[in-house]
Amino acid sequence: MLEKTVEKCCISLNGRSSRLVVQLYCKYGVRKTHNLSFQDCESLQAVFDPAVCPHVLRAPARVLGEAVLPFPPALAEVTLGIGRGHRVILRSYQEEAGEGARHGLGQGAEMGWDGAGPRFPPVAVPTDSTVKAMVTEMSIGGEDFQQLQAQEGVAITFCLKEFRGLLSFADSANLSLSIYFDGPGRPAIFAIKDSLLDGHFVLATLSEPDPHPQDLRGPELQRPAPQLQAHSTPHLDDFALDDIDSYMIAMETTVGSEGSRTLPSTSLSPGLQPPCSPGSHSEEEDDTEPSTVPGTPPPKKFRSLFFGSILAPAHSPQGPSPVLAEDSEGEG
């Protein structure tokens, strides 16, 4: 629509009135002027490097777009993993409503990686299976990918909504999307590149739960990723509450040369604390409901800041936390 009516677009900054002025020169002499207010804020620079990620996938955005089509539009998170035979598997990730929810027909909690609740005491209440959510899985052959360098069994879980968003952006520009990732808990980097732009979208991934509550190690500690069998889940349990604070995402766009890096303004959550040494933050101490553990964020397991100013974090973290991005010093 815009392409048909707009002949020229002029963007300027009016420092005096603190307005970003966008002028659209349209057909028939019509000129639309939008004065957008903005505010200065601190920008975050995420510390990440695709090169250190051991795994990478690359496919046309269209292929990945088709792959996420079967998932319900309301689904929040998806797990991406490599299955047997080098197939790429996407599976819906369900955050369980309560500790009994995944225990099916009255079986007790099973420890370990088989997907049924972690450390909660066995629940004898038979749950209504029909209330559970449907699980959807999409399996794509490795041949559909331009690059597939990942070991079988590795899997990460991230926000599907944002994945869909960046896929539609990449698809509209007919680009391929590269996914650089490590293990659960480590950020996953989604990269697109063409002659005009170079984009890196960093998404948080769910980390695996710490099976030994008394083991107060930092979020960097990871268990080896559970094996992902063909047609079966990457068995990620509920994850440790302590790792939530280390997540944030930022979009970084470089225009042409490496030198000029402009980061979009990302409003810092007021609760975000400066980096501190890992291990000192609060851990879950017992097997009760996550929300009762003091000093830890509410049960929404991770939050992400895509465009920081538009999408404020749903829950501010409360405890001190290791931060993957350093505060930039006074830079506009």
């Binding site: 079967p70 088989d114 997907g115 209504d128 299976s129 449907m134 959807t136 999409m138 399996s139 052959g141």
Partner: protein, 280 residues
């Protein structure tokens, strides 16, 4: 207990998807009864459903190229599963470009109906979508409530008008009143009436035709002009009509006056019976 079925024909798949969409509109949760020859979607007349009941039947060989089932036991060779209808229709929605569709009963931490769809893809490798629909196995002692309902002895049987027309009328009537009177006679006339303090609205359908009566004696006794009526909840009627996306091959309405209205539809080879009780 075992169940596995495979569907490869595109037309059958579309048909099955349509049936599942219809069931999803009629009942949030329903029972799927699997027997060697048939599949049934059943809603029993519990208070929770407002007394509405439904019996949908399809012959499995009209849909599936492969069908194997093993019931609870040899004497009780059936499987009764309770599921959320919308899950099945959502799963089938992703099968629009499918090469093949497989359904089977599985146990993945809890009993599931796994729908596995092999998609047609441009590249050489296949793409497979799998949906695990959680189900509840219904124990044998509850099966008696989920049997085919007996068709009541109707006072009047009449063929229905075009359902889409009926639906748009009932939709408008719903804004005025929650109670609807449905009445018909043996002269091919059907009326939909609503009455409030301020207004009375009646829509008359004529020349609908009546199916031949079951017993000869009854036809002589009855005055063909006399209307048999039932007061029903308009929302239940609307829900029933909204579920019919396509006009059925055959549609009959049986009225037991002041008791129940029974809709008997045939969509190609799928039969649907829907019972709406009178308001007490």
């Amino acid at each position: 207990m075992k169940f596995r079925a495979k569907l490869v024909d595109a037309a059958c798949l579309n048909n099955f998807t349509r049936v599942s969409n219809m069931i999803a509109k009629l009942a949030k949760t329903c029972t799927l009864r699997i027997s060697p020859d048939k599949l049934n979607f059943v809603l029993s007349d519990k208070v929770a459903n407002g007394g509405v009941s439904m019996w949908c039947e399809l012959e499995q060989e009209n849909f599936f190229s492969e069908f194997q089932m093993e019931g609870v036991s040899a004497e009780n060779n059936a499987i009764y599963l309770e599921l959320t209808s919308e899950n099945l229709s959502r799963a089938l929605k992703t099968a629009q470009n499918a090469r093949a569709l497989k359904i089977k009963l599985t146990n993945k931490h809890f009993p599931c109906l796994t729908v596995s769809i092999e998609l047609l893809s441009v590249s050489s490798s296949s793409r497979v979508v799998t949906h695990d629909i959680p189900v509840k196995i219904i124990p044998r002692k509850l099966w008696k409530d989920l049997q085919e309902p007996t068709v009541p002895d109707a006072d009047v049987s009449i063929y229905l008008p075009v359902l889409k027309t009926m639906k748009s009328i009932v939709e408008k009537m719903k804004n005025i009143s929650n109670h609807l009177i449905i009445e018909a006679n043996l002269n091919g006339e059907l009326n939909l009436k609503i009455e409030t303090e301020l207004v009375c609205v009646t829509t008359h359908f004529k020349d609908l035709g009546n199916p031949p009566l079951a017993s000869e004696n009854a036809s002589q006794d009855r005055n063909s002009e006399q209307m048999a009526q039932v007061h029903i909840d308009i929302r239940k009627l609307l829900q029933f009509l909204a579920g019919q996306q396509v006009n059925p091959t055959k549609a009959t309405c049986n009225i037991v006056k002041n008791k129940i209205v029974h809709f008997d539809l045939l969509h190609e080879d799928v039969s649907l019976q829907y019972f709406i009780p009178a308001l007490s």
